[in-house]
Symmetry: C2
Subunit: 693 residues, 2 copies
């Protein structure tokens, strides 16, 4: 009883990159990117092989093909361009290049003077098979070659698949019919054009596909390159006694845009609950006019689909979205799955919560702490599917209002598989929707959320201040498999976090963090007040004193000591230098000592090269020698190179890799735009190729 | 039309180890091993989780379970023992530890003086669920705890699942019924025994399994630990004029066994073809009495299932297998898929070969070289399935003759998927069969064959002679994923390869390579003549002069300068030191300079610790300082330690990590067996725990 043997893997294809967890999750790219694919491909023996990438956008029925070429050590490479914002898939195929193998053997045998009569016949059989399947002009050209290799005196070719023909053809070949010598026939068989024709019409009798189809999530470029600005709309009246509105925000748009930001992000704008409302500085005893935390979502005026009445109407919100767009800004809103006891869901869907034996709904706790203003959701309770769909529909509701960017609050306290499902559902219909994960939690959960589908993620940058920890962390982000799926959006501050470094380092610390955030990653954000160097903290905590989370505030936007000019300049620099639009091109370079961090970014073609040196000590000046990577920069050791320092405007004409710099606390960073200076007589065509003149 | 949402992955389980290519291939272990499993396991929020390994031998219907414990940073670990020679499978499961989570929260709330009435009720509900599903005595014990937590004055427990009961139970709890105070009830709820009972009867409402079942190929110990000796039976008559026989080999068994070998391996023993037979030194002009290469398999007397008549009969062969066993030796034979033009297959199965247009069968070529004595097989020709089954049946034929070890010639010239199928077919029925891959080829093909199923593989050791290349290669073999599937069987020479190092380095080179081969890997082999320091080569080649592959030879087994005593001693040392039975416990340590290689092996419990220093220069003595890893050895910096040098018998009493050694070419290595010397009054029980006395 002969069992079936699986012989579908005639060629070994493995170690395919990019591949994430065996294809379980998508790697991320952006529209216009070239996806570089690598694979180990080999088979037994000495036959030549050929390989290709098969790829398609998700909504395409047919695979497209891109050729792969041998790289080294059984590794092959190829690439394809992703030109649309959607999910893509690719895989790798390989087959034996029977004709290439045959040509190579024919050449060796003919050169060694061996009788190649049988070989010619075998090669012609391959050409005949290809001709039979070739399209259009290729068939005619292949048949012409066939005639040159095997034709009789009339140039006619016999039917090679018929065994009886062999003797006849043998006779023709040996007779030197039609003035064709054996040398002529061999020359035709070895012709490079014939090889190309055969490669274009390959005989894939042992076609083998890689086991898996690998997904690529192709986002719009804003997923990788954007500058975010966060503000509380209710603090935009410039009067702490008056609750700000969406219309106040519209008046504030030029301020944000003039600094050079791309995205304007608001904490929750929904109705706020009244039960157990928090007072100023997170106290449990609010005054009557305390506005409450916007994260206690849901009240009389509605829930996640509604706007807080004091901010205005939905019409006002849409007007703000439109006005922002006119200013070149995109609105991002918060998606916080947090429900106050006053949220309509509590009455409408009690099964979405945890109900206790006495019939009450369980509030949030971190024993012994109680958060009675928040009801956690039960993602696996009764009607969990209804609940999941509701959250998706909340997103779709805001998409309909013109919002395409969502900053997601605490995603790590909700099931990872919920996010995977929800994000995919939304992006299938609206691939331009961006989700930023605010998962300040353990590293593996942060990575899992990114793999599950979050477009971007907050990072540990907020707490990484010193040289080694910055180098280590950003090397992990940009030079390990994390670069395939985790886009770090760097926030030096958030409404929840006023880091110790900013508290204690003052204005120089803000400048340092601004330079780092804008240049270490292609995507970053600040929470308003950062540009004003606001750093009054609750004693002993990394939290703001009199936080906007619990009260309406008014800001002096021209406050002395503000670093708006620096922020504005940094955003200009980002815009003008394509190297800073890329994420995983960050590389660290040596600078003597532990105080100055030195790194650079280049585009692949080196037309944009930027190097950054930052004094990480907010208290005193440091001097160091920066060691530029001349080799990577394509600059010879003896060549001069031109440097423009983009914060001071200073220009240099440097020689050699090692350059001295002194960085004062009030000007803690340098951003060097580098250009090779290599114009010489050797650069002209006629120098290298005088015959052209 | 609500679609189905997949909610089967409530807990994230990823990065499971050991896992090879996403579970596509089996990792390898040996009978008696403990398989250490690691996995990243986590979920949203703060619930405690629990996890286990599920594992089973392939023929078992039911999964067994082994607990996992938290390791660090969301990583969990556990292990299971593989006690049978067969394929095993394992996977990882996880679930929320609802009860552990609840106990921890209860404790915090109670300690903070909060009202825990509802909490007690909720916990008791969990206990009631567990009790309902618990087996035997556990149910009774759980119910007893239930009574202590929630019992009324009569110790009876109400039906917690009935909502109407809540008020009644509330009354009981608040009344302090049955002399039970709240403190008593809480104490019962927090009892460690209750936690253990609940852990033994877990409530796995969100049980999540890892996506994949991962295979483990568990071989017998000889797959990892064995010393091989290779000889040509036809050269065993001790008379070059008389073709040796299996009976001559029987007479040679004591010689092999006395040197301490475990496996005796023969090149092909099948009938040899006559057409295009090779003469002495691989010439094309054989004399009438030249015996031909045993790799030209197949002749008048039969093919792969038969023995060459001049060696004896099949009965003689079986007698040899039995005699070897009596000497503690196991016979290994060659499996070479090579067919001479005289092989019965050529007539019986022409479709298994490549037939040319003129009807002839294609012989082997490497253009312009021709190997007319060999017909390559077409693994995908007509009746390829019949051919594949025949090769499997050839193996089974020899298994029936008592052979369980096959050295496979040139597997890299046959399809990888053929080997994967064939080895699995054989091992499913005969799991004790060992296949050694003689794939001297590119690294990825060597790895692919090992992943596809080869038990062991030849290595690049044959050409690695210097310190850095040895350290680099053996670190790859033993400390990268290769250790999971690639068991390197080290051969310093083979009938095909007489390395330049042995040719030029003479006797000291043989000693160096012997020490390296026996101690770098737990499995190694030599080809006879190595112990005699035979190193006459074909000029300019790494091939033996007057190779046994083409002629019958006679050896002087007591030839002056032979290193039989060293080989014998090395095999003794291997046998006596369990650290040398392990494969992936090799670690390199620093020795000053480039001439002396220094490494060690320890068992996990450190009862066996061996360190080896080898002078890699066959021409002159070198001195160096060896830096022992006292920390890994469990020896304090000030402690003395005992050393026995196993080649000279010298004993030392050393202090400190740094030890001088001088290695002469005629004694190029040292093998130190180390024992800690730490007996003192603190070692006695009564010193640490005086109350026990």
């Amino acid at each position: 009883m002969p069992e079936t043997i699986d012989a579908s893997r005639k060629i070994v294809i493995e170690c395919v990159e990019p591949e994430l967890d065996g294809g379980r999750y998508a790697v991320k790219r952006e529209v216009g990117d070239t996806v570089e694919v690598f694979a180990d491909i080999f088979k037994e023996g000495h036959d030549a092989i050929a390989a290709a990438i098969r790829y398609r956008a998700e909504d395409e029925a047919e695979w497209r093909e891109a050729p792969m070429r041998f790289f080294d050590n059984d590794r092959w490479t190829g690439s394809f361009t992703v030109d649309r914002n959607c999910r893509w898939h690719f895989t790798v195929i390989a087959w034996t290049d029977w004709f290439g193998t045959w040509q190579s053997e024919l050449r060796k045998k003919y050169d060694a003077g061996q009788n190649v009569f049988l070989e010619l016949y075998e090669g012609a059989q391959l050409v005949a098979v290809a001709a039979a399947h070739a399209r259009g002009g290729d068939a005619a050209r292949l048949n012409a070659y066939l005639a040159e290799i095997l034709g009789d005196e009339r140039g006619e070719v016999r039917h090679l698949h018929e065994e009886a023909e062999f003797e006849t053809v043998a006779t023709i070949l040996e007779s030197g019919a039609g003035d064709r010598t054996l040398a002529d026939r061999v020359a035709a068989a070895l012709d490079a054009e014939l090889l190309a024709l055969m490669a274009a019409n390959p005989i894939r009798t042992d076609l083998t596909g890689y086991d898996r189809h690998l997904p690529v999530q192709v986002d719009r470029v804003a997923a990788r390159y954007a500058a975010w600005y966060e503000l509380f709309p209710r603090s935009m009246s410039d009067d702490a006694a008056r609750h700000g509105t969406f219309r106040d925000v519209i008046a504030r748009l030029p301020y944000v845009r003039d600094m050079g930001f791309d995205v304007l992000y608001f904490p929750p704008i929904h109705p706020i609950g009244k039960q157990f409302r928090k007072g100023k500085n997170n106290t449990l005893t609010p005054g009557d006019d305390d506005p409450g935390s916007p994260y206690a979502i849901g009240g009389e005026a509605g829930g996640h689909r509604d706007v807080h009445p004091e901010l205005g109407t939905m019409q006002d919100f849409r007007a703000l979205v439109d006005a922002a767009q006119e200013h070149g800004l995109e609105i991002a809103i918060d998606f916080a799955i947090q429900v106050s006891p006053d949220h309509p869901y509590v009455e409408d869907h009690p099964g979405w919560f945890y109900v206790r034996p006495d019939g009450t709904i369980k509030y949030a706790e971190n024993p012994p702490k109680k958060y009675q203003d928040i009801y956690p959701l039960n993602f696996y309770g009764d009607d969990w599917e209804g609940q999941w769909r509701e959250w998706r529909d909340v997103i779709l509701h805001w998409v309909a209002q013109g919002v395409r960017i969502f900053r997601v609050d605490n995603p790590h306290t909700k099931p990872v598989q919920f996010w995977e499902w929800m994000i995919r559902e939304v992006q299938r219909e609206y691939p331009d929707v961006i989700f930023l994960s605010e998962a300040f939690t353990r590293p593996k959960m942060m990575k899992a959320l990114a793999k599950a589908g979050f477009t971007q993620s907050y990072t540990y940058f907020t707490w990484r201040n010193f040289k080694r920890e910055l180098e280590e962390y950003f090397t992990e982000l940009t030079q390990t498999p994390m670069k395939e799926y985790f886009r770090g959006n760097l926030f030096p501050n958030t409404p929840d976090i006023l880091p110790e470094f900013l508290q204690r380092g003052g204005r120089p610390a803000f400048m340092i963090r601004a330079i780092l955030a804008t240049t270490l990653s292609s995507v970053y954000g600040i929470y308003s007040g950062f540009e004003l160097c606001e750093n009054r903290a609750l004693p002993g905590k990394e939290e703001y004193l009199d936080s906007e989370k619990y009260e309406v505030k008014a800001w002096d936007w021209d406050r002395p000591g503000n670093i708006r000019p620096l922020i504005t300049r940094l955003n200009q620099v980002r815009r003008q230098n394509p190297a800073l639009h890329e994420y995983d091109n960050l590389r660290f370079y040596p600078a003597d000592g532990e105080d100055v961090l030195f790194y650079g970014k280049m585009t692949e073609d080196r037309t944009s090269m930027v190097f950054v040196a930052v004094n990480l000590d907010p208290f005193r000046a440091h001097e160091t020698v920066l060691h530029f990577p001349l080799g990577e920069m394509g600059i010879g050791w003896g060549d001069p190179w031109e440097v423009e320092e983009l914060l001071t405007g200073e220009r240099h004409f440097w020689h050699g890799a090692d350059q001295y710099v002194r960085l004062e606390p009030d000007a803690p960073g340098r951003i060097y735009r580098v250009r090779a200076w290599r114009s010489s007589e050797t650069g002209f065509d006629y120098f290298m190729e005088p015959t052209l003149v």
